[in-house]
Symmetry: C2
Amino acid sequence: MKIALDAMGGDHAPAHPVAAAIQALARFPQITRLILVGDEEKIRTELAKHGAEPNDRLHLFPTTQVIAMTDGAVEAVRRKKDSSLCRAVDLVKEGAVDAIVSAGNTGALVAAATIKLRNLPGVDRAGLACPMPSRNGVWILLDAGASVDARPEHLLAYGCMGSIYAHHILGIAKPRVGLLCNGTEEGKGNELTRQSYELLKSAPVHFIGNVEGHGLFEGAADVVACDGFVGNITLKTAEALAKSTFKWIKEEITSNPIRMAGALLARGAFQSIKKKTNADEYGGALLLGVNGICVKAHGSSSVHALFNSLRVACEAVTQQVNPHIVEALAQKPSSPTS
Amino acid sequence: MKIALDAMGGDHAPAHPVAAAIQALARFPQITRLILVGDEEKIRTELAKHGAEPNDRLHLFPTTQVIAMTDGAVEAVRRKKDSSLCRAVDLVKEGAVDAIVSAGNTGALVAAATIKLRNLPGVDRAGLACPMPSRNGVWILLDAGASVDARPEHLLAYGCMGSIYAHHILGIAKPRVGLLCNGTEEGKGNELTRQSYELLKSAPVHFIGNVEGHGLFEGAADVVACDGFVGNITLKTAEALAKSTFKWIKEEITSNPIRMAGALLARGAFQSIKKKTNADEYGGALLLGVNGICVKAHGSSSVHALFNSLRVACEAVTQQVNPHIVEALAQKPSSPTS
């Protein structure tokens, strides 16, 4: 398969994307071509640091513009046609690649993908499906922030698309789909979630009702649907607390030599849980619902995070997530509001 | 001061409320009377376990009904007039006590307080102000779940009331008020937060704009305003992740004797951070905006959590939070939508 990587996207571009590309090519033989899209000179300089240069499997697609993290999404896509992000999406549109990975501006990626690739048949609004840690594995939060407002039929589609992700990529036989809410009882929630509850009840998914924050990390559901505003806050709150907790523990430990000695003996435990709660391990969010595979990596992605994002892109292509979504949504009973 | 404690509220009632009452009376001489409201026989039995009985400072107010955690809020308040929760609120209304603490049904407490005590002048909707941990102290999240839907003028009032809480109870000279959002830039957010942003800009508080999950636990703001749906999910997500992280670390540690030895040496560090991230330490949420001091403790409150909730009630009474709110809201420029 062929993948385009936005080499200028993210806080550490092009260094991290270039390093991740080299790692991914070494690890994933199924990638027959990986195209680094961006500033040619800068990319060649980064490649040289690894003693690498473009070859049969590693291509370079030169572009002249970069979309900044602070650029307005739709305007940036319209104005910066030769940006690495837009050109990478164009490559998907033209069929030159099977997937794109970008750590760039989330809004711009969503806008470019929606405008250029269009939504899949039956999908009104794309959602970012973000893998999150639980006790014994991974659950999917979506929408993690593709759009801020949502209607009940969007949450219905998020539940359906998330179920397909969990089934085909995570290998869960019958994914349990929940609705993120302020309580588990039916009837809890705001107007949006109460209406979405009714739609999900008759959807072709294993809907288990409302789930609240308390159960998320203990595996209450495999897929958790919510609007992008709530999802983004939930995602960032969880990431932030995990990071702060480890930072605070480290500060407490380094304040005392006996504690430091102890921590050294117990470090395997910390490393294991730090890894579990580290967003880098999960490899970015898949933008579900657009007609093409788009993976959004964190803006601050490490090389490892980008490597894992390339892995997610490979899995989504191999598992044919999009054809499965189209098929499943064709079965969806039409909602009263759509 | 006099405080009513709902002895039947919460998962461990009346055992935990009774034990917390005894501890609080020993610790807080300013409590001249603490009234345990609930099933007389059960309360006496619990008191006996501590070798205690009603006395000059510890009173008993017998009631015959209990509002269950699963009861519908408004209906429970209308139907169960002789419930411990309703009678405790009645005591505030009649002026027999200065404050009420309950670990019971959140919705019922909010409904009882709103119906019986009414809102303070200038307040449309009460909000639960929940203390949360940050790097160097505490910040206030509100609304943490008093109501699920909110209008911009409600978020404006939450910001103002939270600022007064932070100033008078947390002792912060000029509390920084932020709006919980999916990004920090002005213009980010959903319709509710974008409109609220405009109102808060001209409010008599130190408004610092949007804050996102990433900054919350590193002290990005002293007060974080949001609607109760988002607030409740944020609160529960944070509580859940903190709990799960420590559980996972413990499981990893106990899987290996060398790690266990190390953890023993470093245990001070864990205990310190576990305490910091433990909701029990913060003592429940103050229902800001009603004409009376109402503290909502967690349904699963430990004795220590209820003890801390009684402390919060004492502080709110001593610091005259409600008169300060009335005064501040009288200065608030009228909003275009109210």
